[in-house]
Each structure stands twice: as structure tokens, then as C-alpha cells.
């Protein structure tokens, strides 16, 4: 599903060049639940951003779900991302002026994946799936952190993408909620979704099918 070959990323900064990733080779199969661990600044999030098409590699090749990301234009990449990848962030990144249900409907709205009349039902199904359907008409600010992250997961699933990428999804949650979130990820994995999760949470990382450790931009 995800194929990285000699993937490198170098940033030019005022202080000089900084190599965030140094020739990573990595293959992840469909349905795998992979945790990426490592110290702060090791390159975990950079790697995730490359896979999700948020950032482009400096060299090497990257194929996700059969698509070579480097060859896609800006707009093709947006479309591809909407259909192929669902993102979950540490700080949830829900749009504050949309209700919970509307946040989940937004990706469908942008990609037009379902007829307008069916989007609300799908959003409600997904919210039910992550156990926050009763919060559907509230604004994100009225929800707890755990509930917001569940909504973010529902939003990530809106267009039924084969790949879910999560960057420190439990970094802002208590341990009980963190365990629940990882349990949910596990269920998604068992349903065939490919999950790549950046985390510091060693306990949670133990529940995944594979752990990849990154140190100084390289797979350790």
C-alpha cells in the first residue's frame, strides 16, 4: 500500500541545510497498523507529511495506493489526498464554526463523493461509529478533547480512504481516552484500513502490528 524508497527530505534554513529524512526505505502493506516512534525532531512527522502528500520529498520515490505522489500537481494532490488519505492531528483541527456533523460532511462536500442528500446520513453513521452521534449538532468548542478527536477520526473516514495517517493523535488526551482511540484505530485496521500513527505513547504503540523507529531522520 505504501512504498518508500531512498526517501530524503532536506530543508533550507537560515542556519543552513537541515536533513530531516535521510534515504528511508519502507514498505507498509494494506491493513497494517504501523506506529512510528522516535524522539522529538527525529523526523516522524516529516515522514508522515511525505506519505500524506502534505510535503514533497527532496529525493527518492514514494508510492501510496499505487500513486506516485511526486508526479501529482497541486490540485491532483488535493483530490488524491481527499480520496486516499484521512488525517488525524494532535490538536484535532476541527473547523470551529462548523458543527460536529458539518465537520464530518466537509470532505464529502469538497470531493462530491456522495449526493448531497446522503452526506448527512453518512456523517451520522460515522459519528455513531466513533460514539459521538449525540454531539452531532454541537460546535467543536462544546466537546471534550477525546470527543473532538473522535470527531476528527470520523472526518478522516468521511470519504472512506484506504489510508489513515495520525500525528500524535493522543498527545493531547488522557490515558483512558488514548487507549480508546487506539482501540478504534485497531478496529479500523482490522477492517482493512492501513494506519500509520506517529506517537510518543509507548503503551499505545504496543497495540499496533508494527513499530518503526526513526532516529535522526533514518529508520533505526
Amino acid at each position: 500500500m505504501i512504498h518508500l524508497q531512498a526517501l530524503s527530505k532536506t530543508y533550507e534554513t537560515p542556519a543552513g541545510s537541515f536533513e530531516a529524512l535521510c534515504g528511508i526505505d519502507l514498505d507498509i502493506d494494506a491493513g497494517e497498523f504501523v506506529a512510528i516512534v522516535g524522539k522529538s525532531g527525529s523526523g516522524k512527522s516529516t515522514l508522515l507529511n511525505m506519505v500524506g502528500g502534505i510535503d514533497r520529498p527532496s529525493s527518492g520515490s514514494l508510492t501510496v495506493n499505487g500513486a506516485s505522489i511526486a508526479s501529482l500537481t497541486h490540485n491532483e494532490l488535493a483530490m488524491w489526498r481527499g480520496r486516499t488519505v484521512g488525517f488525524v492531528f494532535q490538536f484535532f483541527q476541527l473547523l470551529p464554526t462548523l458543527t460536529v456533523a458539518e465537520n464530518v460532511m466537509l470532505p464529502m462536500d469538497f470531493l462530491g463523493t456522495l449526493p448531497g442528500s446522503q452526506r448527512k446520513k453518512r456523517a451520522m453513521d460515522l459519528l455513531d461509529r466513533v460514539a459521538v452521534a449525540d454531539q452531532a449538532d454541537k460546535l467543536p468548542s462544546a466537546l471534550s478533547g477525546g470527543q473532538q478527536q473522535r470527531v476528527a477520526i470520523a472526518r478522516a473516514l468521511a470519504n472512506d480512504p484506504p489510508v489513515i495517517l495520525a500525528d500524535e493523535p493522543t498527545g493531547n488526551l488522557d490515558s483512558e481516552t488514548s487507549t480508546a482511540i487506539f482501540k478504534l484505530f485497531g478496529e479500523l485496521s482490522s477492517e482493512g484500513k492501513t494506519l500509520l500513527v506517529v506517537t510518543h505513547d509507548r503503551e499505545a504503540a504496543a497495540t499496533v502490528s508494527r513499530t518503526v523507529t526513526i532516529a535522526d531522520g533514518c529508520v533505526a
Binding site: P14, N49, G52, I54, D55, H74, N75, A78, M79, R81, G82, R83, F87, F91, Q93, L94, L95, P96, T97, L98, E102, N103, M105, L106, P107, D109, F110, L111, G116, S117, R155, A158, N159
Partner: protein, 783 residues
């Protein structure tokens, strides 16, 4: 059902009511300003354009020696090339407006008040037509005459006879200049008026050409043919500039200034819109990143924000356009009253409203297109980055220079660095402030330039009182009166006559060779010298007739062409052409007697304004007592005021523009600077977190505003220079045929600095304190 993304747009607008209100108010202020100017411009252009032509102005006026009777008029009406003709004798005299205070009076004798064919006027109030010992007065003259309806006024005709005449009604003669502006009174009497039988009148025959009514040469040809065929002595043929109201130059200048400031207000509002959009997008970057993450394309994101701008612009238009139309109508009414015009409607043409709506939506969208396109193309990585821009502080040379400033208190240093680091924000804010400042300063500069032109012209005329006689009188007779008069220090009797320069009437003025009473500023060449012969010094209005220094000026005097060499050009505050020549040159060309004069220029003992006025009265009295037929005695301060009154409308446009800029700019600036503080909420949160008090934060944010204000003021002063030059040039050329002298008004420059500093302080203090009082967590929250 509205799609979630469009709901986001609507809720984003509603989510921050203060910010939305500020943005809408700033845009509405721009829409208001532009609508107001366009409305008044279009109303005045429409109404003034038809106002004059509706009077059916005469193409030519023939002054005839002898009575113009109905038979003559009928025969002229039947002549080829003549569409219509009318007799209109004119009685020139004086009207008493107070004890010993007389003003010039022109009374038109009307053949038939029920059949006025040319230079029409309409009843305004009171009776119509007047009885035999009654007169109607032009409505703008009533206050000048210091009279009311039904008052009996004293009129002194040129034969020194005084007549008591009752004013029974007012009329509106749209083709005449307002009486208050001319400092003269105009009235109308009937054919059977007692005045007509007792006073001398200049019998005029007015005619309208049948075709080619705007062709001056054709009109003169027709008038000459009429002159040749009527078998009467025609003493003078006047051809008013076809299609031009007597105050057309003022109207043109006024409308030009309105248009110019309309464009400046428009530019100001466009910059305001750009500032609003910049503020909006800065705050939305992270959300753009989120939307891109979930699959939004660049186009979809751009459409969302363009939609948001369109909604805000529509709201601004809903406020700005109706208010602008109302205010524009009110201003048009005021301006029309200045020009003795009556507006039939104060509604702007529909196309103006349609264009305003279209432009009001399209312009913000166009202005927004660039920033929105840039923001929509931003990568998710950039959108989520906490870096302020692509260039962190310290990576540019200017940043490093700024970092070397160590002597300021640290919080102020931070403010300064923040100000200059966020260049996009700085440029837009400063541009908004500077655009407003430049327009404000330019408006006051042009107004001051008019004042200075007026003062410079007055300085060049060193006499205090000018007496004009109804007919040429012996110089010795006048001299005898003035030499004995206690108020008179010095008097000169210049030779004056008229001539034609092409199709234009020009005044020939022959001052004394060694005159001390005239020192007009020279644009080129030299002034007249005692031994000069057949030379002329012309003013800039004459120069506009394809003449040049060193060349010849061809003048038609008494039917003959004479040419004089142009040795100098003077700058004179006069829209008409004046030619100064040695007295003997004028006498030789006109054949006039050197012993007769039509005017005297007098230096009085008391030279202040009350002294001039008192002297004018007593000199008039003395001349009258000596049997000298005085047409007018005017103090220089009076004639200066008369000219200044001609500028009232122009200066009103400038003051109006300056006030509008203060209003539009003031609201815009307040909004911009306030929004600017909102943008810094996160930074303020960090400062609070590390111990800065609300007071310290407010002080620093206000300081930052002051830095922007001073910077913008500096740019405004520089930008005002070319704008002032352009306006001085165009407005001066339209009205007095020469550019006004450039002048940078220190008052305007200082006033704008003060204004912008006050605005900066007021608009930043409150939001800064508010932001500083927010909980730190709230201020640095991610969303």
C-alpha cells in the same frame, strides 16, 4: 440545503461580529464616499448641462444706437440664418443697499413677460409680471440688495435720477451668475416701466442662430449680416461663448475636482479592502491547511473566500450606497445653490447605482483575487507552520539592522521589530493610511494654493479703490475732485478700451508709464517700459490664444487689425484675456482722447478694509456731487471678495473632499489598525504569559500604531506632492488658464499628522487592552 463549506463562510462572518462590523464599515465608508461623489457629480453634470440650454441662451447680442422696436425685431426674425430674435434694452444703474452704500444694478427691460423667447427666466415667488413702477429681482440678488419682497428700493440711474421702485417678485434666471457672487443686483422691468422712459438704456437685440449654434464664427457671420441689413448703427456685438454658462469654468473645475477626489476615494477604499482581506486570510491560514488536508482544491478554497468577500462587500454596499446617494443629493443641492441652479431631481441616474453595485462587488473581488489566490495555493505545510512568513526574523538585511538597535526599552524594541517584520501587514496598513493622508493633504494644498494665488494677485494691485465711470469723463474734472479729497493719497487715470483677439473680447489696459499701482508677477519677458511703442504685455488667458513671447498679438480695433509685439506675460487671477500696452499705443490704435478716462485707481489714506470702504463711499459722494457719472466705486477688498466668492464652490469641493477622506479614511484606518491588533492576539498572549501587564502591552501596541502612523504620514506627504501638482495644474488651467503655484500647506501636513496619530492611538488602545486581558490560554490557543 447549504453545503457545509458555505455554512462555514456564513458562520465565520457571524462568529466575529466586531471584526465583521469593522470590515463592513471600512468597505461601506469607501462605497459611501465613491457613491456620494458619483451621485453629486452625475446629478450636477446632468442638471447643469440642461439648465443653461433650457434658458435658450442668445447666440449674439447686438447693442444698437436707438430704439429696438417690434418692426425691427420681426424683420430680424425673418432673416435667413436667424431662428429667433428679441428686444431687450438694458438699464445700468446703482441700487441703494444701505445708507451711502450703492451696488451696481442691471435692469433688463422685457417686451412681453408671457412670451420670453431668449435668455429665459422663470417666476420664483411673488407677482409676475411687474407693474410700471415695479421690478422683479433675480432670486440670488435679493439678499445682495438687502431687500425683501414688497420693499421699495432706491435706484439711481446713469442720469443721476433716483427712482423708488417696488420689488414685487423674484425670478430664477439660470443663465445669469448669482448676484451674491458678482456683488451686483440684477432685475427685470416691463416694457411700459417708468424707468424705461426716464432712464437711458442700452437697446439690445438678442438673436438665436438657426443652425450651427455652437460655432462662434458662424454666429459672428450671422450677426454681421444682421448688422449690415438692419440699417441701424450697431455699437457692439457680443457673442457669449456658445453653449457655455457664464460660470462654466467654475463648474468644470468643480466637477473635475469632484471626479478627481472620487477616484482618490475609490483608490483609498480599494486599499482598505485589500487590508481587510489580508487580515482575514492571515487568521484563516490554519483552516485553509485543514481544508486542504481533507481534500479541498485551490479553486474551492479560493471560491470560499471570494464568496466571503462578496458577502461583506454586498453588506457594505447595502449601507454605503443609500447613505451615499442621500449625502450626494444633499451636496448636489448645496453646489447647485452656489451656481444659482435648481435641481429637478436629486436622484442619480440608474446606471450610476448599477455601476456602483457592480463595481462595489467587482472591485473588492478583484482586489482580493491576488491575496486569495496566494493563500489558496499555500501548502498545507506552510499553513500549519507557526512561522510568520517565509523569511524568519533576522534573515533579511533590514531585520539585522533593526536588531542592532539596542537602546530602546526591550518591549518597545519588540514592537518595532514586529512592525517591520510583518511586511505585508505593514505595507497594507501604511498604504491605507498614506492614501487617505495624501488625498487629505492634496485637497487642503489646492485650497491653500487658491488663497495664495488670490493674495499674490492682490499684492500686485497696489491701489485701494477703483472708480468706474458710466461714460468717458475729462481727467482734469476727476483730478480736481480727487486731488482735494482728504482720503485720497494718489490717483492714476489709465487708458482702457476693448478689442477683439480672433473671436474673443479682450480688455486693453494702458497703465501710466511709471505706475506704482501695478506689479503683476511676470511668467516671462518684462513689464512695459516708458519708451515702449507698439508692444504688449499679455496675461495667461490671452497667451492661451496660440500666442508666444516675442511674437505678435493681432488685435481688431475699430474694424482694423493692429499687431503689437509681445514683450511680457503676466500671471493674473483673471479668466478673461487682458492686454497691457503703453497708453499712447492704445490711444493711437483706438483714436481715443488722452484727456478722457473711464476709471480712476486710487490709493487711500487708510489702507485697511474699513478705511477702504469708508473712502469708497466718500469718494463716490464727492464724484457725484461734482456731477461725474459714476458707474461703480469699488474697494479692492470688495473686488477681492467678489473673486473669492467665485471660488467658494471650488473650495467647497476641496473641503468636502478633505472631510470625506477624513471620514472614509478615519473609519478605514480605525478598522485597519484595530484588526491589526486582533492579528496579534497570539503574540499578546505570549507576552502576557511571560509577565507583561495589560498596561505595558497596550502601550507597546499603541507605540506600534504610532510608528505606522508616522511612517504613513511621511509617505502621504511625499505622495501628496505629485497629486497636488496635477490638481493645481488642471484646476488652475480650467479656471484661470494657468496652473496654480504649487504650495505644500504646513497646516495640512501638521493636521494630518495630528489626525493620524490620534486615530492610531484611539484605534489601538482599546483592542490592545482587551487582548491583553484575555486569558493567556485563550490567546495562544491553536484555533
Amino acid at each position: 440545503m447549504i453545503a457545509p463549506r458555505w455554512r462555514k463562510v456564513l458562520r465565520d462572518i457571524g462568529q466575529t461580529p466586531l471584526r465583521t462590523a469593522l470590515a463592513v464599515v471600512a468597505m461601506a465608508a469607501g462605497a459611501f464616499g465613491v457613491t456620494m461623489i458619483l451621485t453629486s457629480y452625475s446629478i450636477l453634470k446632468r442638471e447643469l448641462g440642461t439648465m443653461y440650454t433650457d434658458t435658450r441662451p442668445a447666440s449674439a447680442i447686438l447693442t444698437i444706437d436707438g430704439t429696438v422696436d417690434d418692426t425691427l425685431v420681426d424683420s430680424v426674425r425673418r432673416m435667413p440664418g436667424v431662428a429667433d430674435a428679441e428686444a431687450r434694452p438694458v438699464i445700468y444703474g446703482r441700487i441703494q443697499v444701505a445708507k451711502d452704500h450703492w451696488l451696481p444694478l442691471t435692469l433688463f427691460v422685457i417686451r412681453d413677460f408671457s412670451d420670453i423667447r431668449l435668455d429665459r427666466f422663470k417666476p420664483d415667488s411673488g407677482a409676475w409680471p411687474p407693474g410700471d413702477d415695479e421690478m422683479l429681482i433675480e432670486r440670488s440678488s435679493l439678499s445682495v440688495a438687502n431687500a425683501s419682497l414688497s420693499d421699495r428700493v432706491i435706484i439711481r440711474t446713469s442720469d443721476h435720477a433716483e427712482h423708488a421702485v417696488r420689488i414685487t417678485g423674484t425670478v430664477h434666471a439660470a443663465g445669469l451668475a448669482p448676484g451674491w457672487m458678482e456683488h451686483a443686483v440684477t432685475g427685470f422691468v416691463s416694457w411700459s416701466s417708468h424707468l424705461r422712459s426716464s432712464a437711458t438704456s442700452a437697446d439690445q437685440l438678442r438673436l438665436l442662430v438657426a443652425t450651427d449654434a455652437l460655432n462662434e464664427r458662424h454666429i459672428r457671420d450671422v450677426a454681421s449680416k444682421v448688422e449690415a441689413s438692419i440699417n441701424r448703427k450697431v455699437t457692439r456685438i457680443d457673442v457669449p461663448t456658445p453653449g457655455r454658462h457664464p460660470h462654466a469654468a467654475q463648474m468644470d473645475t468643480f466637477l473635475f475636482l469632484l471626479g478627481a477626489f472620487g477616484a482618490l476615494t475609490f483608490a483609498l477604499s480599494a486599499v482598505l479592502v485589500a487590508t481587510m482581506i489580508h487580515a482575514l486570510l492571515t487568521e484563516q491560514l490554519r483552516q485553509i491547511g485543514v481544508m486542504k488536508t481533507v481534500g479541498a482544491s485551490t479553486m474551492q478554497i479560493a471560491a470560499l473566500y471570494l464568496g466571503q468577500v462578496a458577502i461583506l462587500a454586498a453588506a457594505a454596499l447595502a449601507i454605503g450606497i443609500p447613505l451615499g446617494i442621500d449625502a450626494g443629493g444633499a451636496y448636489a443641492r448645496f453646489a447647485a445653490s452656489m451656481l444659482n441652479a435648481t435641481l429637478r431631481s436629486t436622484l442619480p441616474p440608474l446606471w450610476i447605482i448599477a455601476a456602483e453595485v457592480l463595481a462595489g462587488i467587482a472591485i473588492p473581488l478583484l482586489v482580493a483575487l491576488g491575496p486569495i489566490a496566494r493563500a489558496s495555493r499555500i501548502t498545507i505545510h506552510e499553513a500549519f507552520s507557526n512561522d510568520i512568513g517565509r523569511h524568519p526574523f533576522g534573515t533579511r538585511r533590514f531585520d539585522r539592522w533593526l536588531a542592532r538597535i539596542q537602546w530602546l526599552p526591550r518591549p518597545l524594541m519588540l514592537s518595532l521589530r514586529t512592525t517591520f517584520h510583518r511586511r505585508g501587514r505593514l505595507i497594507l496598513t501604511v498604504a491605507t493610511l498614506a492614501a487617505g493622508g495624501a488625498a487629505f493633504i492634496a485637497a487642503l494644498n489646492v485650497s491653500a494654493a487658491w488663497n495664495r494665488t488670490l493674495a499674490a494677485d492682490a499684492r500686485g494691485r497696489r491701489f485701494d479703490v477703483q472708480a468706474v465711470f458710466s461714460r468717458p469723463v475729462p481727467i482734469a474734472q476727476v483730478q480736481q475732485v480727487l486731488d482735494k479729497h482728504p482720503d485720497v493719497v494718489h490717483a492714476e487715470y489709465w487708458i482702457e478700451s476693448g478689442a477683439m483677439l480672433g473671436e474673443t473680447n479682450v480688455s486693453l489696459i494702458g497703465p501710466d508709464a511709471n505706475t506704482k499701482l501695478l506689479d503683476l508677477p511676470l511668467i516671462a519677458g518684462r513689464w512695459l517700459q516708458p519708451d515702449d511703442e507698439a508692444v504688449a504685455v499679455i496675461n495667461q488667458s490671452a497667451l492661451a490664444h496660440d500666442l508666444h513671447l516675442g511674437g505678435n498679438i493681432p488685435l481688431r480695433i475699430n474694424g482694423k487689425i493692429v499687431t503689437w509685439r509681445i514683450v511680457g506675460v503676466v500671471n493674473e487671477l483673471a479668466p478673461h484675456a487682458n492686454v497691457y500696452a503703453p497708453p499712447r499705443t492704445i490711444l493711437a490704435a483706438t483714436g481715443k482722447s488722452p484727456d478722457l478716462t473711464r476709471s480712476a485707481r486710487i490709493v487711500t489714506r487708510q489702507r485697511d478694509i474699513p478705511g477702504q470702504l469708508a473712502a469708497a463711499k466718500s469718494i463716490e459722494q464727492a464724484l457725484n456731487n461734482a456731477g461725474i457719472d459714476v458707474a461703480a466705486v469699488q474697494s479692492l477688498s470688495d473686488s477681492r471678495k467678489s473673486f473669492a466668492d467665485h471660488l467658494v464652490i471650488i473650495k467647497s469641493a476641496l473641503i468636502f473632499a478633505a472631510l470625506l477622506v477624513v471620514l472614509v479614511g478615519g473609519l478605514g484606518l480605525t478598522s485597519t489598525l484595530t484588526l491589526n491588533v486582533f492579528e496579534r492576539t497570539r503574540e499578546i498572549g505570549i507576552l502576557s504569559a511571560i509577565g507583561a501587564t495589560p498596561r505595558t502591552i497596550a502601550r507597546d501596541v499603541v507605540f506600534e500604531g504610532m510608528v505606522m502612523a508616522v511612517l504613513s504620514w511621511f509617505i502621504a506627504v511625499i505622495a501628496a506632492i505629485p497629486i497636488t501638482f496635477a490638481l493645481d495644474d488642471a484646476a488652475g488651467r480650467m479656471f484661470i488658464r494657468s496652473a496654480l503655484d504649487f504650495y505644500m500647506s504646513p497646516t495640512a501636513v501638521a493636521a494630518w499628522l495630528l489626525l493620524v496619530l490620534i486615530l492610531a492611538a484611539l484605534s489601538r488602545f482599546h483592542p490592545a487592552r482587551r487582548s491583553a486581558r484575555l486569558a493567556v490560554r485563550e490567546a495562544i490557543a491553536y484555533e
